[in-house]
């Protein structure tokens, strides 16, 4: 009677897990598995590749496991069966050390390649002139400044398709993490510190971006829209903004920085000219030693003070 029980439970488990696997099959709804640009594509390839390798391991080990627990259950063995006195087996042990090493190498090489590739402009787009967008996270909104176009937006960002976008990430307060799953993986924004994340959208489309790093009460609402447009549409949008949007003032900017959740905003001009790049701080060493000279961005001191006043 009991003998029947276990397989029944296992079957239920298998059924349950297959439901999940099936629900995972329609990848078009799964952001990470629905890459819309070369960066996300690269990560997608890596993920799928490693997934199958891991599946192999999973299947092998599960197979062994199921074999062992079914074959050597007490109930299936003779009552007087006495297990042998095994201590180990040199060859077996060498095999199961060696094979994982091979798998690790197979995983490590593409990983390292991808790690380096992520720092540069995606292959095939090297000759395309990139556009720079400065991203400043504040509690709890995203501020996008276009230094070349001279405009600033809050909680949404428009980008031209097919053009590498250099996001210069920094924070005006807590650390956040800038994540647009369809376009590629995330990077942190940190105060007094600027980091670069290169992303690229292949097609026009609208994608959801989000802060991935918890930073306080408004965290769950800290998302933004990324609109990828054709170059013409993008240029037209920039022109429109310059014509219609109000000019960004220091007062406006400080108001935006106050902790809270806000909607979309659009300005002409950026806050970059009056936010001093921090210098001679310890963190700057990180910049100085970095071969690839990143642009500086950050908060000036009195703005920091402003912020903390609002806090208390």
């Amino acid at each position: 009677m009991k003998k029947k029980h276990i397989p029944w439970k296992i079957t239920v488990l298998m059924l349950l897990s297959s439901i999940f696997l099936l629900s995972g099959c329609d990848t078009s709804k799964i952001a990470v598995l629905n890459p819309q640009g070369p960066v996300a594509q690269k990560q997608y390839d890596l993920i799928v590749y490693s997934f199958w390798l891991m599946m192999i391991i999973l299947v092998v080990v599960l197979g062994l496991f199921i074999f062992m627990i079914f074959k050597y259950r007490e109930k299936r063995l003779a009552a007087d069966y006495i297990p042998p006195d095994q201590h180990g087996n040199k060859w077996l042990e060498i095999i199961w050390t060696a094979i994982p090493i091979v798998i690790i190498i197979a995983v490590a090489i593409p990983t390292i390649k991808a790690n380096y590739a992520l720092e540069d402009i995606p292959k095939g787009y090297e000759d395309k002139k990139p556009i720079t967008i400065n991203v400043t996270s504040a509690d709890w909104k995203w501020i996008f400044s276009y230094p070349e176009q001279g405009i600033e937006t809050v909680n949404y960002v428009n980008i031209p398709k097919g053009t590498p976008v250099k996001f210069q990430l920094t924070s005006a307060g807590t650390m956040a993490s800038f994540w647009i799953p369809e376009l590629g993986g995330q990077k942190y924004t940190m105060p007094n510190h600027s980091m670069e994340l290169i992303l690229l959208a292949d097609k026009p489309g609208s994608y959801l971006g989000r802060n991935a790093n918890f930073n306080g009460e408004g965290f769950a609402h800290m998302d933004f829209e990324v609109l990828s447009q054709t170059q013409e549409d993008f240029d037209k949008w920039v022109k429109d903004v310059k014509k219609t949007a109000p000019k960004l003032t220091k007062a406006d900017y400080n108001k935006i920085l106050k902790p809270g959740v806000v909607g979309r905003m659009t300005y002409t001009g950026t806050h970059l000219p009056w936010v001093k790049a921090p210098h001679q701080h310890g963190v700057m060493k990180k910049q100085e030693t970095n071969q690839k000279q990143h642009k500086m961005d950050g908060m000036d001191m009195d703005m920091n003070m402003d912020m903390s006043e609002h806090q208390h």
Binding site: K285, K286, T289, N290
Partner: protein, 95 residues
């Protein structure tokens, strides 16, 4: 580790003398030479480790009990960990 009774603390005196020499040598190298900074740091770094080793063996008798293997292993392992923490942090934080 047997009981031993010597009359004069020769080991201690030698050790003390050595540590004074090394300290002053380090100060001299650091402040009164014009060597490049990395060279100076390596020299005085080595001197510091030598002096620490001297204390361990001559003052703290790390080798004397029947646990000496574990004691020495413990200290070597802590030095590995210490170097990992220090050099690792510097590497990670500045890169």
């Amino acid at each position: 580790m047997e009981q031993h009774h010597s009359k004069y603390p020769i080991g201690h005196i030698v050790g003390f003398f050595l540590s004074l020499v090394m300290t002053i040598a380090a100060m001299f190298v650091a402040l009164h030479t014009n060597l490049p900074r990395p060279t100076i740091m390596s020299i005085i770094g080595i001197l510091a480790f030598l002096q620490a080793g001297m204390q361990l063996f001559m003052f703290m008798h790390i080798k004397e009990s029947d646990n000496s293997v574990v004691q020495i292993g413990n200290i070597i392992y802590s030095i590995i960990i210490a170097l990992t923490i220090v050099l690792g942090s510097i590497w990670v934080m500045h890169n």
